[in-house]
Every structure is written in C-alpha cells, then in structure tokens.
C-alpha cells in the first residue's frame, strides 16, 4: 500500500467519523448547528482526499469545474432564497437531485464495464439506478405537491396497485437481463425510465399531508443508492456515508410516522385522504351547519380577561406569514398578566419540527413552545385556546371517528378548554381534507379571515380593551 493510498484511506476515515459525530450533534438542540458544520467539514475532507485518486482528461477537468460552479450557485442561491414555509419542498428537491446523481454515476459505470460485468460490480450499479431514479422522480412529485404545482390530494385510479406491481415486475425483469444476459445500454436505460415512472406512480396516491414521511423515506433511499455506488466504485467514503444516511433516514421515517400515529405501510399504501374528494364536495353542505362567529372586539375582551391562553399554531399561520403578528398578540396579553403558551403538535406545519423553526424565526421564546405530551393535560385549565391556521391536529374525529383517515392520530386536547377561538380563512377542510367537528362545538367561536389580518385586528382590539 503506497503512502498516498494510506493517506487517502485515513482521510476518508476522518470524514466518516465527522459524519457520525455530526449526526450525533444534530440530534440534540444545543449542538445541532455545530453538527451541521461537523458534517460539512467531513464532506470537504472526503472531497479533497478524492482528488489524488483522479486521472483527469481535459474534458473531465472542464466539466467538473463547470458542474461544481453551476451546482454550487443553484444550491446556495436556492437554499438562501427559499422561504421558511417552503423548506419541506426544498429538502425534497435537494434529495431528488442526489438520487438522480447516484443513478447517473451508476449508468456511467455500467457503460464503462462493458457487456459482461462481474456480478459484484453490476448488482450495486443496477440497484443504484433503480433506487436513485425512484428517489429522483418521487421527490419531484413530492416537491410539486407541496409547492402546489399539482393537487395535494391522493391521485388514485382503478387497478393502480396492479399497474405499480407490473412496473416493479418489469424493473425486476430488466435487472435480471442486465445481470444475467448482457449489460447493454438499451436494457439499463429502459431500467432507468421504468424506475422513474415507478417513482412517480409510487408517490401519486399519497396525500400532501404525508409528504414529509415520503421525503424522509426517499432520503433514506438516496442514501442506499449512494452506498451502492460506493460498492461499484470501491469507495469507502461513499459506502459509509450512504449507509449512515440510509439507516438513520429509515429510523427517522419510522419516528415521523409514529408521531402521526400511523404505520409506515398505512402512510405509503393507505391512499390517505382519499375521502377528500367527498369531504370537499360535502364542505358546501357543511357550511349550512350553524357555527358561531365573533368580532375582534368581543374576542379581544375574552382574551384580555383570561388567565391562561394556549395558542395552537398551524400551517395556515405560516402561509399567512403571521408568526410576528401572533407573537405581538402574545406580548400584549402577557403585558396584562395573561399566561400564554404555544402547543406544538408533532406534525404542526408541513414537517415535524417545522412549526418550531417558523416560530423561532419570529423570536418566540423557546420556553413558551410546549410539546404535545407536555401540555395536553393543561388544556382543561385553559380559559381560551386560540387555534391559528391549524385544523387536523385539533380534530376530535381522530379520537372518536373510527372510519376517519386521521383516526388514531394523537391530537391536542383543544376541545377541553373553556373557550375555543378558531381562526380560519373559511370553512374549507384542512390538509387531510376532512371536516372538523370542533368548529361546530358550542364552546367554539369562529373568526374568519386571513390569519395575519385577523391577528392584527385582535392586537389592536386588545390594546384598546
């Protein structure tokens, strides 16, 4: 083993250790930001260590410089410009391009191996092509759903499972063809196309509210595709880093679906929210049911003379960019001696932890953000619960209606409070597409309007009260 090889191997080892330390730090709030730096440092070391291994052609060095410049620009500008509310789809996009890169690397390697590669080289390559392509296409659909470029409702059609099954069988057929008969461009390009189609078909029937779980799963997929590329290239850094992501990403996916009170199988194949079409159609009829709605002055008096107010923020708050307005309202109430807390449901926002990020952006003090388990017993002592742009996470149907798509999901006990103020743009159902009984509760006062406008009106009314 030459000195250079030893140095490169050790540098890869250092990079792998930094990735592991980075992940560890990322799982604790105090050290999370350092963890990201640690992992980035590992990445820089792994990239630098790779350079001595390369034999550049003139074209090679040119495309690397151009590629890094373009990718670096797109990545950094995209990541800096994106609004905090759009973070989930951005993560989907960055995940998808990683999966795409893994598939392309595998295609290039297969081209190089010729028609009859050794099994140990061909197998990880086809694995990487299939999984990387599924991750790419699936992530793009997830992006489109979250960005609302297409409908967030599950897209289903008769015989969908059969079509997906046939796609999977066709992929398996081409995998065997490449491995056993011959590795020719036609077969692995067909493989890639089929895997892309399967990626799209796999995510289409999954509802927008479940996209975070899907993105997390595809993130783990990309990790595995990268690890497979590592086997093809005989590269230690790719194997270890890819596998770390594959394993931790799978666990994270499970943690996320647990937080929603559902099994992963149910998320992926349950066509969650399928009833949405029906529910939306029923929404017109629902409007006929009586709800109580209030004006800002009455609500301000109610709030200002309460002892304890719990705010339940949801994605609607973020969409209306009302984080600052809600903090101002909380400040005004606290000035009057009202005790204010925020109840954060594990899946508030569009991704677990998303709401914390959004409220932190508005400088809401960390101590006021209470997790569900911590605050759920306290709702019965609250004078007012203020639901801002949230819906499904306070829907009692999760507890009582067995047939409901959200049945079994842990919810915030907002219905136990003495009064509920429900701020909403309209009677339209939430992201899961189902009607919310809480809106018809006699203790509930609806306050219709854009979250930001409504909160500003409330702030002014509280000041005057």
């Amino acid at each position: 083993m030459s000195g250079t090889t030893i140095a490169i191997t050790l540098a890869y080892l250092v990079a792998a250790v930094l990735f592991i330390l980075g992940l560890r730090q990322l799982s604790s709030p105090k050290s999370a930001r350092n963890g990201n730096f640690t992992a980035a440092l590992g990445m820089v070391i792994a990239l630098l260590a790779t350079i001595p291994l390369l034999h550049f052609t003139t074209a090679g060095i040119t495309i690397i410089v151009i590629g890094v410049a373009i990718g670096g620009l797109v990545g950094s500008v995209g990541a800096r410009m994106v609004k905090m509310t759009a973070i989930p789809q951005m993560v989907a996009l960055f995940n998808g391009v990683g999966g795409g890169a893994a598939a392309l690397v595998a295609v290039a390697e297969l081209l190089r191996f010729g028609a009859h590669p050794a099994f140990a080289e061909a197998f990880p390559s086809v694995f990487s092509i299939v999984i990387g392509s599924i991750s790419f296409a699936g992530s793009m659909v997830a992006f489109a759903k979250l960005q609302e470029l297409m409908t967030g409702t599950p897209i289903t059609y008769p015989g969908q499972q059969v079509v997906n099954g046939l796609l999977a069988a066709a992929i398996l057929g081409f995998v065997i063809a490449v491995l056993v008969i011959a590795s020719v461009p036609f077969s692995f390009i067909a493989l890639m196309v089929l895997a892309l189609v399967l990626g799209v078909a796999f995510v289409l029937p999954i509802g927008g509210a479940d996209m975070p779980v899907v993105i997390s799963l595809l993130n783990a997929f990309t990790g595995l595709a990268v690890a497979a590329s590592g086997f093809t290239l005989g590269n230690f850094a790719l194997i270890v880093a890819g596998t770390l992501v594959g394993a931790s990403g799978s666990l994270l996916t499970k943690l996320m679906s647990d937080a929603m009170g559902r099994s992963l199988g149910n998320v992926l194949f349950g066509a969650f929210g399928q009833v949405q079409a029906g529910a939306t159609a029923a929404a017109g009829g629902a409007q006929a049911r009586a709800v109580r709605s209030g004006n800002p002055e009455d609500l301000a008096t109610l709030l200002a003379y309460s002892r304890r107010v719990i705010i339940v923020p949801g994605y609607g708050l973020a969409v209306a960019q009302a984080q600052h307005a809600v903090r101002e309202l909380a400040d005004q109430l606290e000035k009057r001696g009202v005790e204010v807390d925020y109840a954060i449901h594990p899946v508030a926002g569009r991704m677990p932890g998303h709401m914390n990020v959004l409220l932190a952006e508005a400088n809401v003090p960390y101590e006021q953000l209470k997790e569900m388990d911590e605050i759920n017993d306290q709702f019965k002592d609250a004078d007012v619960v203020l639901v801002v742009g949230a819906n499904d996470v306070v829907n009692p149907a999760a507890r009582s209606t067995v047939g409901s798509p959200i049945y079994g999901m842990p919810i915030l006990n907002a219905d136990q409070a003495k009064n509920i103020v429900f701020m909403k743009r309209s009677m339209r159902p939430g992201f899961a597409g189902i009607d919310n009984e809480l809106m018809y509760d006699p203790k509930t006062i609806m306050f219709f309007g854009d979250a930001k406008d409504s909160l500003t009106k409330l702030v002014n009314a509280v000041k005057a009260a």
Binding site: L26, M43, I64, G72, S76, A101, A120, S248
Partner: protein
C-alpha cells in the same frame, strides 16, 4: 468473494448499526433539520460524480459526468446551507434566555 468486497460489506453492515444508534433519541423539533442534514450528507455522491466526470472522454460520458456533478453539488451545497438556515433560528431563540444573566 474478494477480500476487498468482504471488507466493504463489513463497513456496510457496521454503518447500518451506527446510523441507527447515533440518532436513536432525537426530539421531534429536530426531525426536519436532521432530515435535511442527512440529506446533505448523501451529497457525498459528488465523490462518485467527480470520479466519472474526471475520466470522461466520449460525448456520452461528458454529458453524464457534467449532469451528475451539477446535481450532486446542488445536493451538497443546498443541503448544508438550508440546514444551517433552519438551525440558525434555534440558536436565535435561545439567545434571550442567555442574555439576562450576562448583564
């Protein structure tokens, strides 16, 4: 099975266990940043992309290499930057807590 492949397989299996073990206890609020951080780490595929790009000579190899490098770099740079943006806010909201005792 060659000894090299056996070694690689060993790393692979050990890395699975490390990956699961290292994040076993993560609070819900960090799920999104953690996902984004692991997302950036699989951008290591850039190492693979520059491998195939460096030796590219035929037009097909050049196109594959260029696109792979662009996609992988976007993954790495975007992944780390967007994770940092999220985590920057977590630090920001703890600042008010830290300031009063300092004065």
């Amino acid at each position: 099975m060659s000894s090299e492949l056996l070694n690689e397989f060993t790393f692979f299996v050990l890395a699975i266990f490390v990956g699961i073990e290292v994040i076993s206890k993560v609070p819900t609020i960090l799920h999104t940043p953690l996902m984004s951080g692991t997302n950036a780490i699989h951008g290591i595929i850039l190492v693979g992309a520059i491998f195939i790009a460096a030796g590219a000579s035929s037009p097909v190899e050049i196109v594959l290499g260029l696109v792979a490098v662009i996609l992988a770099t976007t993954n790495v740079v975007g992944g780390f930057v967007v994770t940092d943006r999220m985590l920057e806010m977590f630090k920001g909201r703890q600042a008010p807590k830290a300031t009063p005792p300092a004065k």
